[in-house]
């Protein structure tokens, strides 16, 4: 092997016309230093020039050479010029012919246009409006389907519902319990630091009990379920969409809402209050652990105080909220899944937006509940 010779390109004008001399070894990554200069010289030629390629001193070559020659052809084209490539090695000539065989399709090239700010804001608002519209009509579809279910006309497989109940209920219990235990613990820590200063540390039990039972257990459980089950719903329905399974249901004459969405929504709506009940209990236990270890309260004293602080209304209110959140998370997950595109990336996007939409809806509903419950004096 001889050492590679540096690639070079040179445009010479001779009496018989311009000659583009390519020499040396043209390798990708070791392009000719003077190729830009040669292209510039080509562009400066008088219109209609015929340029001959001289490859007498050409060594080894690969795509680098063809790419350069294609640029040369493109440079000459608007000038009405022509590149005579007969001097090239056969392989290179064939590749170049192939590259210029199909002319660029007019209008096919994408031009990046950044719309002005106002237009982008407008487009975003329209898109949000359309999303909201889609969500409302999806909720409507699910409600109609629920109506069919109640009157016994919506059919899905009982085993599907059972499987869903297991997935969103029993299988989720561990993580729900862990998260809510820690939330109870954290609330108690925060409260203890403040209340100890007033010698009122026993009221930690009130703080933790009321906060968990009224709101926190339901919200935390809903957020866990949005990340867990909402995402799972969107991913499985999105994959079914990508695999045309949902089309297959439609053409079979079976409503995908009845068959796929309904069991998921029912399962989560049924399981959420049960999970929230567990969450209430472990939240209070989390608080009690702090009370016993940091505040020297006895377990009975702590639980006694919690019992006094709570009433049935708080408990039922919290469970009601949990039920609503469950419905929101399930509908958001199924909605994004059913809307999913048919590619792997689209399923990923559907899953992401299912979690985001689920959490947003839950927090939004929690805010609304806070106001409504306050006004109603509950």
């Amino acid at each position: 092997m001889t050492a590679p010779a540096a690639a070079s390109a040179d445009l010479r004008t001779a009496a018989a016309g311009a000659v583009l001399a390519v020499a040396g070894d043209w390798r990708i990554g070791a392009a000719a230093a003077d190729q830009d200069a040669a292209l510039k010289a080509l562009a400066a030629l008088p219109a209609g020039s015929a340029v001959t390629v001289d490859a007498a001193a050409l060594g080894a070559w690969d795509s680098a050479l063809i790419a350069f020659l294609l640029q040369a052809v493109e440079t000459l084209r608007p000038l009405g010029g022509r590149l005579d490539a007969t001097g090239l090695p056969v392989g290179a000539r064939k590749l170049l012919d192939l590259a210029v065989a199909v002319p660029e399709k007019q209008g096919a090239r994408r031009t990046a246009r950044i719309p002005p700010l106002i237009e982008r804001i407008g487009q975003t608002v329209i898109a949000i409006g359309r999303e909201a519209d889609g969500f409302v009509s999806f909720v409507g579809d699910v409600t109609l389907s629920l109506g069919r279910f109640v009157t016994g006309r919506a059919r899905f497989r009982g085993s599907d519902l059972g499987l869903m109940v297991q997935q969103v209920g029993i299988d989720a219990l561990g993580v729900v319990v862990l998260i809510n235990f820690l939330v109870g613990l954290i609330l108690a820590f925060v409260g203890a630091a403040q209340l100890q200063a007033f010698g009122a540390s026993i009221f930690v039990a009130n703080l933790v009990g009321i906060a968990m039972v009224r709101d926190m257990a339901a919200i935390m459980t809903a957020i866990v379920m949005a990340g867990r089950s909402g995402a799972a719903f969107a991913a499985s329905l999105g994959t079914m969409q990508a695999n045309q399974e949902i089309d297959a249901l439609r053409t079979t004459g079976i409503s995908p809402i009845d068959y796929l969405v309904l069991p998921r929504v029912i399962a989560l709506v049924l399981m959420m209050p049960l999970l929230a009940l567990f969450a209430d209990a472990v939240g209070v236990i989390g608080g009690a652990v702090v009370g016993m270890t940091m505040l020297d309260l006895s377990a009975t004293r702590y639980l006694e105080q919690t019992k006094e602080a709570l009433n049935l209304g708080y408990l039922l209110g919290g469970l009601f909220k949990a039920t609503v959140y469950g419905g929101l998370v399930a509908v958001a997950g199924c909605w994004r899944g059913m809307l999913s595109g048919r590619t792997a990336a689209a399923v990923g996007q559907a899953t992401t937006s299912a979690v985001v939409a689920g959490i947003l809806l839950v927090i939004g509903a929690a805010g609304l509940f806070a106001v409504v419950f306050y006004v109603l004096g509950l």
Binding site: N243, Q244, E245, D247, A248, R250, T251, G253
Partner: protein, 257 residues
């Protein structure tokens, strides 16, 4: 000529999305007992036409009728009734992945007939046996090969003994032997069930083996540019785009065969 009892009649169908028109003024009818091929290059809208025929996408204009009754203008419930006479084999099979093969076939039987569970199972086993999948009733779709998934999809499409069977790219993703077997199966089913068959494909071997009528969709002119038996089109079509397609891109020397 079209008659009121043609299984499928399409009139002036224009397909597209929003402002974008994919195909315009498609008019054709599918006669009883034909194997009707929707031909065309990639991106010419063959699969989109199928989606329109099945009501999965709404036309921009025009009308689709099944057995003389407008499908496009029908209410959802009536559409479901019409589609019950149709069976569809989707490109990838589209078997419901959470169910076994027998359960896949059984869904529409359970939904639309009064058969007892035992009879449902028997019919499902029969349909699977017809496509050569005896013994695989309790397999899940992910446990069998692509060719078997296609055949199971076909068994599901035949569950209710449809009058019209639609096939979307039946040979896509199959090796030549499996795809030839599937072609033969399609012909046998046509003969034994007396069904009308609509096949969307660009696979020339299939087109010539099974096709008895068809239309050619052209992406450039955005409409039908040829109509008739694919073998005759191959030998006698005058349109260069059709000739190129049916001759695998090679213009025959001197015409004829």
């Amino acid at each position: 000529m079209s008659s009121a009892s043609d299984p499928i009649a399409v009139r002036g169908l224009t397909m597209g999305f929003g402002d974008f028109v994919l195909m315009r003024d498609l008019t054709f009818e599918v006669k009883h007992g034909e194997v009707f091929i929707v031909m065309g290059g990639s991106g010419s809208g063959k699969s989109t036409l199928l989606r329109h025929l099945l009501g999965l996408q709404e036309p921009l204009a025009g009308d689709i009728a099944y057995y003389g009754e407008s499908f496009t203008a029908a209410e959802p419930a009536a559409r479901t009734q019409m589609l019950r006479r149709c069976g569809v084999l989707f490109q990838s099979g589209a078997l419901w992945s959470s169910m076994t093969l027998a359960e896949n076939v059984a869904v529409s039987l359970e939904e639309f007939t009064d058969l007892r569970p035992r009879d449902v199972r028997e019919v499902a086993e029969l349909k699977l046996a017809l496509v050569g999948l005896r013994g695989f009733e309790d397999y899940y779709p992910s446990e069998i090969s692509g060719g078997m998934q296609k055949r199971a999809g076909l068994a599901r499409a035949m569950a209710l003994d449809p009058d019209i069977l639609f096939f979307d790219e039946p040979s896509a993703g199959l090796d030549p032997v499996s795809s030839a077997l599937l072609d033969r199966l399609i012909l046998e089913l046509r003969d034994s069930l007396g069904a009308t068959i609509v096949v969307v494909t660009h696979e020339l071997d299939s087109i010539f083996t099974i096709g008895s009528d068809g239309v050619f969709l052209d992406a450039d002119t955005r409409t039908i540019i040829a109509r008739g038996n694919p073998r005759e089109l191959r030998d006698h079509a005058t349109d260069p785009a059709v000739r190129r397609f049916l001759h695998r891109g090679l213009e025959p020397q001197g015409g004829g065969n």
